[in-house]
Protein backbone atom coordinates (compact mmCIF):
# COMPACT_ATOMS: atom_id res chain seq x y z
CA UNK A 1 0.00 0.00 0.00
CA UNK A 2 1.18 3.50 -0.76
CA UNK A 3 1.00 4.84 2.76
CA UNK A 4 2.86 8.11 3.08
CA UNK A 5 3.84 9.20 6.54
CA UNK A 6 5.97 11.86 8.11
CA UNK A 7 7.91 10.91 11.20
CA UNK A 8 9.71 13.04 13.73
CA UNK A 9 11.72 11.60 16.58
CA UNK A 10 14.15 12.70 19.24
CA UNK A 11 15.83 11.24 22.29
CA UNK A 12 17.72 13.38 24.76
CA UNK A 13 19.59 12.62 27.92
CA UNK A 14 18.10 14.02 31.12
CA UNK A 15 19.90 16.31 33.52
CA UNK A 16 21.40 13.57 35.69
CA UNK A 17 24.68 12.19 36.96
CA UNK A 18 27.51 12.46 34.45
CA UNK A 19 28.30 8.78 34.26
CA UNK A 20 24.76 7.68 33.38
CA UNK A 21 24.00 7.67 29.64
CA UNK A 22 20.62 8.24 27.99
CA UNK A 23 18.83 4.98 28.79
CA UNK A 24 15.89 5.55 26.43
CA UNK A 25 15.86 3.88 23.06
CA UNK A 26 13.77 4.61 19.98
CA UNK A 27 13.49 2.35 16.95
CA UNK A 28 11.57 2.48 13.68
CA UNK A 29 11.14 -0.21 11.06
CA UNK A 30 9.31 0.22 7.79
CA UNK A 31 8.76 -1.91 4.70
CA UNK A 32 5.86 -2.42 2.30
CA UNK A 33 3.82 -4.26 4.90
CA UNK A 34 4.66 -2.69 8.23
CA UNK A 35 5.44 0.54 9.94
CA UNK A 36 6.68 -0.35 13.43
CA UNK A 37 7.62 2.37 15.90
CA UNK A 38 8.77 1.53 19.39
CA UNK A 39 10.15 3.39 22.39
CA UNK A 40 11.79 1.89 25.47
CA UNK A 41 12.73 3.59 28.72
CA UNK A 42 15.48 1.71 30.52
CA UNK A 43 15.22 2.00 34.29
CA UNK A 44 17.83 4.28 35.81
CA UNK A 45 18.39 1.88 38.67
CA UNK A 46 19.41 -0.99 36.36
CA UNK A 47 23.01 -0.82 35.16
CA UNK A 48 22.43 -2.38 31.73
CA UNK A 49 19.02 -0.90 31.09
CA UNK A 50 20.03 0.77 27.84
CA UNK A 51 20.88 -2.62 26.43
CA UNK A 52 17.61 -3.96 27.82
CA UNK A 53 15.80 -1.07 26.11
CA UNK A 54 17.48 -1.77 22.75
CA UNK A 55 16.67 -5.46 22.95
CA UNK A 56 13.04 -4.69 23.83
CA UNK A 57 12.67 -2.55 20.69
CA UNK A 58 14.34 -5.22 18.56
CA UNK A 59 12.13 -7.96 20.05
CA UNK A 60 9.00 -5.93 19.26
CA UNK A 61 10.07 -5.34 15.65
CA UNK A 62 11.00 -8.99 15.09
CA UNK A 63 7.89 -10.48 16.63
CA UNK A 64 5.41 -8.15 15.00
CA UNK A 65 6.68 -9.17 11.57
CA UNK A 66 5.97 -12.79 12.48
CA UNK A 67 2.56 -12.09 13.97
CA UNK A 68 -0.62 -13.17 12.20
CA UNK A 69 -3.47 -10.74 12.66
CA UNK A 70 -5.86 -13.64 13.01
CA UNK A 71 -4.04 -14.73 16.18
CA UNK A 72 -4.88 -13.67 19.72
CA UNK A 73 -3.07 -10.51 20.79
CA UNK A 74 -2.01 -12.34 23.93
CA UNK A 75 0.16 -14.52 21.70
CA UNK A 76 2.12 -11.44 20.60
CA UNK A 77 2.57 -10.43 24.24
CA UNK A 78 4.06 -13.81 25.06
CA UNK A 79 6.33 -13.88 22.03
CA UNK A 80 7.81 -10.43 22.68
CA UNK A 81 8.42 -11.17 26.35
CA UNK A 82 9.95 -14.56 25.60
CA UNK A 83 12.24 -13.15 22.95
CA UNK A 84 13.39 -10.31 25.18
CA UNK A 85 14.11 -12.67 28.07
CA UNK A 86 15.90 -15.18 25.89
CA UNK A 87 18.13 -12.47 24.38
CA UNK A 88 18.97 -11.09 27.81
CA UNK A 89 19.70 -14.51 29.26
CA UNK A 90 22.08 -15.19 26.39
CA UNK A 91 24.28 -12.33 27.61
CA UNK A 92 23.70 -12.24 31.36
CA UNK A 93 22.23 -14.15 34.27
CA UNK A 94 21.00 -10.98 35.91
CA UNK A 95 17.85 -10.08 34.00
CA UNK A 96 17.00 -7.37 36.52
CA UNK A 97 20.07 -5.38 35.41
CA UNK A 98 18.31 -4.87 32.06
CA UNK A 99 14.92 -3.64 33.26
CA UNK A 100 13.03 -1.52 30.78
CA UNK A 101 9.58 -0.36 29.79
CA UNK A 102 8.40 -0.47 26.20
CA UNK A 103 5.55 0.85 24.13
CA UNK A 104 4.97 0.37 20.43
CA UNK A 105 2.60 1.11 17.62
CA UNK A 106 2.61 -1.21 14.63
CA UNK A 107 0.76 -0.28 11.46
CA UNK A 108 -0.23 -3.20 9.25
CA UNK A 109 -0.42 -1.25 6.04
CA UNK A 110 -2.31 -3.66 3.80
CA UNK A 111 -4.89 -4.56 6.43
CA UNK A 112 -5.19 -0.94 7.64
CA UNK A 113 -4.86 -2.11 11.20
CA UNK A 114 -2.87 -0.73 14.10
CA UNK A 115 -1.68 -2.64 17.14
CA UNK A 116 -0.74 -0.66 20.23
CA UNK A 117 1.30 -2.27 23.01
CA UNK A 118 2.31 -0.79 26.36
CA UNK A 119 4.30 -2.30 29.16
CA UNK A 120 5.06 0.41 31.65
CA UNK A 121 4.66 4.15 31.57
CA UNK A 122 5.68 5.07 28.03
CA UNK A 123 2.68 7.09 26.88
CA UNK A 124 0.74 6.54 23.68
CA UNK A 125 -1.82 8.84 22.10
CA UNK A 126 -3.42 7.97 18.82
CA UNK A 127 -5.87 9.61 16.44
CA UNK A 128 -7.47 7.65 13.63
CA UNK A 129 -9.89 9.20 11.14
CA UNK A 130 -10.31 12.11 13.56
CA UNK A 131 -11.05 9.99 16.64
CA UNK A 132 -8.53 10.68 19.40
CA UNK A 133 -7.47 8.22 22.09
CA UNK A 134 -5.07 8.78 24.95
CA UNK A 135 -4.12 5.30 26.01
CA UNK A 136 -3.28 5.28 29.68
CA UNK A 137 -0.64 2.79 30.68
CA UNK A 138 -0.91 0.93 33.97
CA UNK A 139 -1.73 3.56 36.56
CA UNK A 140 1.13 4.42 38.84
CA UNK A 141 1.07 5.68 42.38
CA UNK A 142 3.87 8.22 42.17
CA UNK A 143 6.32 9.57 39.61
CA UNK A 144 9.21 7.32 38.57
CA UNK A 145 7.22 4.18 39.30
CA UNK A 146 6.47 1.72 36.58
CA UNK A 147 6.00 -1.90 35.69
CA UNK A 148 8.71 -3.20 33.38
CA UNK A 149 10.32 -6.10 31.61
CA UNK A 150 12.80 -7.83 33.91
CA UNK A 151 11.02 -6.94 37.15
CA UNK A 152 10.77 -10.58 38.16
CA UNK A 153 6.98 -10.29 38.09
CA UNK A 154 4.97 -11.58 35.18
CA UNK A 155 4.07 -8.17 33.75
CA UNK A 156 2.19 -8.10 30.46
CA UNK A 157 1.86 -5.73 27.56
CA UNK A 158 -1.47 -3.97 27.46
CA UNK A 159 -2.47 -4.57 23.84
CA UNK A 160 -5.21 -3.19 21.61
CA UNK A 161 -5.97 -3.41 17.92
CA UNK A 162 -7.64 -0.68 15.88
CA UNK A 163 -8.70 -0.25 12.29
CA UNK A 164 -8.25 2.97 10.36
CA UNK A 165 -9.82 4.21 7.18
CA UNK A 166 -8.05 7.27 5.86
CA UNK A 167 -5.66 8.91 8.27
CA UNK A 168 -3.85 8.50 11.54
CA UNK A 169 -1.37 10.30 13.68
CA UNK A 170 0.20 9.16 16.91
CA UNK A 171 2.62 10.04 19.65
CA UNK A 172 4.76 7.71 21.74
CA UNK A 173 6.65 9.43 24.57
CA UNK A 174 8.64 8.36 27.60
CA UNK A 175 7.58 9.60 31.04
CA UNK A 176 10.21 12.32 30.98
CA UNK A 177 7.91 14.01 28.47
CA UNK A 178 4.54 12.46 29.27
CA UNK A 179 4.58 13.36 32.98
CA UNK A 180 4.90 17.03 32.07
CA UNK A 181 2.10 17.18 29.50
CA UNK A 182 -1.31 18.65 30.25
CA UNK A 183 -3.48 15.65 29.49
CA UNK A 184 -6.37 17.69 28.13
CA UNK A 185 -4.08 19.33 25.56
CA UNK A 186 -2.51 16.21 24.06
CA UNK A 187 -4.81 16.12 21.04
CA UNK A 188 -4.02 19.76 20.34
CA UNK A 189 -0.36 18.85 20.71
CA UNK A 190 -0.79 16.47 17.77
CA UNK A 191 -2.05 19.40 15.68
CA UNK A 192 0.79 21.56 16.90
CA UNK A 193 3.40 19.00 15.84
CA UNK A 194 1.80 18.55 12.43
CA UNK A 195 1.47 22.26 11.77
CA UNK A 196 4.93 23.09 12.99
CA UNK A 197 6.98 20.29 11.47
CA UNK A 198 5.35 20.06 8.05
CA UNK A 199 6.72 23.53 7.43
CA UNK A 200 10.25 22.57 8.41
CA UNK A 201 12.64 21.04 5.91
CA UNK A 202 12.66 17.25 6.38
CA UNK A 203 16.36 17.05 7.20
CA UNK A 204 15.98 19.58 10.03
CA UNK A 205 12.83 18.28 11.71
CA UNK A 206 14.43 15.97 14.25
CA UNK A 207 17.01 18.57 15.28
CA UNK A 208 14.26 21.09 15.75
CA UNK A 209 12.28 18.67 17.92
CA UNK A 210 15.39 17.88 19.95
CA UNK A 211 15.95 21.58 20.52
CA UNK A 212 12.35 21.97 21.78
CA UNK A 213 12.75 19.12 24.25
CA UNK A 214 16.01 20.53 25.56
CA UNK A 215 14.65 24.06 25.72
CA UNK A 216 11.35 23.41 27.46
CA UNK A 217 11.59 20.11 29.27
CA UNK A 218 15.06 19.57 30.69
CA UNK A 219 14.62 22.28 33.30
CA UNK A 220 11.42 20.61 34.56
CA UNK A 221 12.40 16.98 34.66
CA UNK A 222 15.61 15.00 35.17
CA UNK A 223 14.49 11.96 33.21
CA UNK A 224 15.69 11.08 29.74
CA UNK A 225 13.16 12.19 27.15
CA UNK A 226 12.28 10.38 23.96
CA UNK A 227 9.40 10.54 21.56
CA UNK A 228 8.15 9.64 18.14
CA UNK A 229 5.35 11.47 16.38
CA UNK A 230 3.97 10.22 13.08
CA UNK A 231 1.22 11.41 10.84
CA UNK A 232 -0.11 9.99 7.60
CA UNK A 233 -1.39 11.78 4.57
CA UNK A 234 -4.95 10.94 3.57
CA UNK A 235 -5.08 7.59 1.82
Amino acid sequence: MNLKTILIQASIRGDKHEDIPNQDYVDVFENDEFLITTVSDGLGSSKNSLEGAQIACKSVIDEIQNFQLSSELQFLNNKIKEKWKKEIESISQNVSDFRTTNSFIAVFKNEKKIIVGQLGDVMVSLRMDGLFRHLESTSKDFSNETVCLGSGKDENFKLAMFEFGHTFDYLIATDGIADELQTEKIETLHDYFKNKFQNIEASRRNDSLKYDLEEFLNEKNNDDKSMIFIWSNKI
Partner: protein, 219 residues
Protein backbone atom coordinates in the same frame (compact mmCIF):
# COMPACT_ATOMS: atom_id res chain seq x y z
CA UNK B 1 -0.32 27.62 20.70
CA UNK B 2 3.12 29.00 19.91
CA UNK B 3 5.51 26.56 21.51
CA UNK B 4 5.83 23.18 23.13
CA UNK B 5 5.82 24.97 26.47
CA UNK B 6 2.11 25.78 26.00
CA UNK B 7 1.31 22.08 26.39
CA UNK B 8 3.31 21.51 29.55
CA UNK B 9 2.22 21.58 33.17
CA UNK B 10 3.67 24.80 34.46
CA UNK B 11 4.01 23.76 38.10
CA UNK B 12 6.90 21.65 39.39
CA UNK B 13 6.09 18.15 40.62
CA UNK B 14 4.70 18.17 44.16
CA UNK B 15 6.88 16.73 46.91
CA UNK B 16 4.39 16.15 49.74
CA UNK B 17 5.56 16.39 53.34
CA UNK B 18 2.90 15.30 55.81
CA UNK B 19 3.56 16.12 59.44
CA UNK B 20 1.62 14.60 62.34
CA UNK B 21 2.41 15.91 65.83
CA UNK B 22 1.33 15.06 69.34
CA UNK B 23 -0.50 17.83 71.24
CA UNK B 24 -1.71 15.65 74.11
CA UNK B 25 -1.56 16.84 77.71
CA UNK B 26 1.85 15.31 78.39
CA UNK B 27 3.39 17.53 75.70
CA UNK B 28 2.65 20.43 78.07
CA UNK B 29 5.39 19.31 80.47
CA UNK B 30 9.06 20.30 80.36
CA UNK B 31 8.54 22.85 77.58
CA UNK B 32 7.83 20.29 74.89
CA UNK B 33 4.82 21.98 73.29
CA UNK B 34 6.66 25.32 73.16
CA UNK B 35 9.67 23.64 71.59
CA UNK B 36 7.37 21.97 69.08
CA UNK B 37 5.74 25.28 68.11
CA UNK B 38 9.13 26.91 67.59
CA UNK B 39 10.50 23.91 65.71
CA UNK B 40 7.51 23.76 63.37
CA UNK B 41 7.80 27.45 62.59
CA UNK B 42 11.53 27.13 61.92
CA UNK B 43 10.94 24.06 59.78
CA UNK B 44 8.32 25.75 57.60
CA UNK B 45 10.36 28.93 57.24
CA UNK B 46 13.53 27.01 56.38
CA UNK B 47 12.02 25.00 53.59
CA UNK B 48 10.08 28.00 52.26
CA UNK B 49 13.43 29.35 51.11
CA UNK B 50 14.11 26.30 48.97
CA UNK B 51 13.30 26.69 45.33
CA UNK B 52 13.39 24.28 42.41
CA UNK B 53 11.90 24.01 38.95
CA UNK B 54 11.65 20.26 39.39
CA UNK B 55 9.92 19.90 42.75
CA UNK B 56 7.67 22.00 44.96
CA UNK B 57 7.23 21.05 48.59
CA UNK B 58 3.61 20.75 49.65
CA UNK B 59 2.91 20.58 53.37
CA UNK B 60 0.04 19.11 55.32
CA UNK B 61 -0.05 19.32 59.10
CA UNK B 62 -2.07 17.02 61.36
CA UNK B 63 -2.16 16.92 65.13
CA UNK B 64 -3.59 14.60 67.74
CA UNK B 65 -4.66 15.59 71.22
CA UNK B 66 -7.81 16.32 73.19
CA UNK B 67 -10.34 13.76 71.99
CA UNK B 68 -9.46 13.58 68.31
CA UNK B 69 -6.96 14.08 65.53
CA UNK B 70 -7.34 17.11 63.29
CA UNK B 71 -6.07 18.28 59.95
CA UNK B 72 -4.76 21.74 60.71
CA UNK B 73 -3.24 22.49 57.30
CA UNK B 74 -4.59 20.69 54.23
CA UNK B 75 -1.96 19.88 51.62
CA UNK B 76 -0.69 23.29 50.52
CA UNK B 77 2.29 24.59 48.54
CA UNK B 78 4.94 25.59 51.04
CA UNK B 79 4.90 29.23 49.99
CA UNK B 80 1.31 29.56 51.26
CA UNK B 81 1.66 27.80 54.60
CA UNK B 82 1.15 29.60 57.93
CA UNK B 83 2.20 27.58 60.94
CA UNK B 84 -0.36 27.11 63.72
CA UNK B 85 0.55 27.25 67.39
CA UNK B 86 -0.48 24.31 69.53
CA UNK B 87 -1.61 23.98 73.12
CA UNK B 88 -1.21 20.67 74.91
CA UNK B 89 -4.31 18.97 76.22
CA UNK B 90 -6.14 15.68 76.50
CA UNK B 91 -5.37 12.23 75.24
CA UNK B 92 -3.23 10.79 72.41
CA UNK B 93 -5.61 9.76 69.60
CA UNK B 94 -2.81 8.78 67.22
CA UNK B 95 -4.88 6.11 65.45
CA UNK B 96 -7.25 8.81 64.25
CA UNK B 97 -4.29 10.66 62.77
CA UNK B 98 -3.12 7.51 60.95
CA UNK B 99 -6.57 7.16 59.38
CA UNK B 100 -6.51 10.77 58.19
CA UNK B 101 -2.97 10.44 56.80
CA UNK B 102 -3.99 7.39 54.82
CA UNK B 103 -7.07 9.11 53.39
CA UNK B 104 -4.92 11.99 52.21
CA UNK B 105 -2.23 9.86 50.58
CA UNK B 106 -4.72 7.60 48.81
CA UNK B 107 -6.44 10.64 47.29
CA UNK B 108 -5.05 11.10 43.77
CA UNK B 109 -6.76 14.45 43.42
CA UNK B 110 -4.80 15.89 46.31
CA UNK B 111 -1.61 13.93 45.58
CA UNK B 112 -1.53 13.19 41.84
CA UNK B 113 0.58 10.34 40.50
CA UNK B 114 2.92 12.95 39.07
CA UNK B 115 4.02 13.69 42.66
CA UNK B 116 7.13 12.38 44.28
CA UNK B 117 6.59 9.92 47.11
CA UNK B 118 5.38 11.66 50.26
CA UNK B 119 7.39 11.93 53.46
CA UNK B 120 5.45 11.35 56.68
CA UNK B 121 6.89 12.90 59.82
CA UNK B 122 5.51 11.73 63.17
CA UNK B 123 6.38 13.18 66.57
CA UNK B 124 4.99 11.89 69.86
CA UNK B 125 5.84 11.54 73.54
CA UNK B 126 3.22 9.01 74.49
CA UNK B 127 1.27 5.86 73.89
CA UNK B 128 -1.78 6.01 71.61
CA UNK B 129 -5.01 6.12 73.57
CA UNK B 130 -7.29 5.07 70.73
CA UNK B 131 -7.35 2.05 68.43
CA UNK B 132 -4.16 2.65 66.48
CA UNK B 133 -3.00 -0.80 65.37
CA UNK B 134 -5.36 -1.37 62.47
CA UNK B 135 -5.08 2.22 61.12
CA UNK B 136 -1.29 2.06 61.42
CA UNK B 137 -1.09 -1.26 59.62
CA UNK B 138 -3.34 0.06 56.85
CA UNK B 139 -1.14 3.13 56.52
CA UNK B 140 2.20 1.36 56.41
CA UNK B 141 1.31 -1.89 54.67
CA UNK B 142 -1.48 -1.27 52.20
CA UNK B 143 -1.88 0.66 49.00
CA UNK B 144 -0.28 3.87 47.98
CA UNK B 145 0.42 5.07 51.51
CA UNK B 146 2.75 2.12 52.10
CA UNK B 147 5.21 3.72 49.65
CA UNK B 148 5.66 6.92 51.69
CA UNK B 149 8.91 7.55 53.56
CA UNK B 150 8.13 7.49 57.26
CA UNK B 151 10.30 9.09 59.90
CA UNK B 152 9.44 9.58 63.57
CA UNK B 153 10.64 11.01 66.83
CA UNK B 154 9.92 9.45 70.21
CA UNK B 155 10.35 11.93 73.04
CA UNK B 156 11.02 10.67 76.53
CA UNK B 157 10.54 7.35 78.25
CA UNK B 158 6.75 7.27 77.89
CA UNK B 159 6.80 7.06 74.10
CA UNK B 160 5.83 3.73 72.56
CA UNK B 161 9.18 2.73 70.99
CA UNK B 162 7.88 -0.63 69.91
CA UNK B 163 5.01 0.89 67.95
CA UNK B 164 7.20 3.63 66.48
CA UNK B 165 9.88 1.19 65.38
CA UNK B 166 7.21 -0.59 63.34
CA UNK B 167 5.90 2.70 61.97
CA UNK B 168 9.14 4.02 60.45
CA UNK B 169 10.36 2.94 57.01
CA UNK B 170 13.56 1.57 58.50
CA UNK B 171 15.16 1.63 61.96
CA UNK B 172 17.42 4.59 61.16
CA UNK B 173 14.33 6.74 60.68
CA UNK B 174 13.31 6.49 64.34
CA UNK B 175 14.93 9.28 66.32
CA UNK B 176 14.93 9.04 70.10
CA UNK B 177 14.78 12.29 72.01
CA UNK B 178 15.16 12.97 75.69
CA UNK B 179 14.04 16.54 76.02
CA UNK B 180 12.34 19.52 74.39
CA UNK B 181 15.68 20.52 72.93
CA UNK B 182 15.72 17.36 70.85
CA UNK B 183 12.47 18.36 69.14
CA UNK B 184 14.23 21.22 67.41
CA UNK B 185 17.11 18.94 66.49
CA UNK B 186 14.67 16.51 65.00
CA UNK B 187 13.02 19.14 62.84
CA UNK B 188 16.43 20.33 61.66
CA UNK B 189 17.02 16.72 60.64
CA UNK B 190 13.65 16.69 58.85
CA UNK B 191 14.50 19.97 57.12
CA UNK B 192 17.79 18.56 55.86
CA UNK B 193 16.09 15.41 54.74
CA UNK B 194 13.40 17.24 52.78
CA UNK B 195 15.74 19.78 51.19
CA UNK B 196 18.15 17.01 50.26
CA UNK B 197 15.34 15.22 48.45
CA UNK B 198 14.28 18.41 46.75
CA UNK B 199 17.76 19.08 45.40
CA UNK B 200 18.43 15.49 44.47
CA UNK B 201 18.41 14.30 40.88
CA UNK B 202 16.58 11.25 42.19
CA UNK B 203 14.24 12.52 44.93
CA UNK B 204 12.62 9.13 45.39
CA UNK B 205 15.91 7.46 46.29
CA UNK B 206 16.00 8.28 49.96
CA UNK B 207 19.22 9.19 51.70
CA UNK B 208 19.40 9.69 55.43
CA UNK B 209 21.12 12.85 56.57
CA UNK B 210 23.10 12.83 59.80
CA UNK B 211 21.43 14.08 62.96
CA UNK B 212 22.76 17.46 63.92
CA UNK B 213 25.27 17.83 66.76
CA UNK B 214 24.14 19.85 69.77
CA UNK B 215 26.75 22.50 69.05
CA UNK B 216 25.09 23.48 65.82
CA UNK B 217 21.88 24.43 67.57
CA UNK B 218 21.39 28.05 68.38
CA UNK B 219 19.07 28.57 71.37
Amino acid sequence: MDSLNDFLIQKPRPLPVIVAVDRSGSMGTNGKIDALNIALKDFINSIKDEDSNKAEIHISLFSFGGESATCDIPLTPISQVNTPSYQAQGRTPMGGAFTMLKELIEDKVQIPSRSYKPTIVLLTDGIPTDDFLSPMNDLINDGRSSKAFRIAMAIGDDADYNMLSKFVSSPEYLVLGESARDIRKFFRFVTMSVTQRMKSQTPDVYQIPQMIDDETLDF
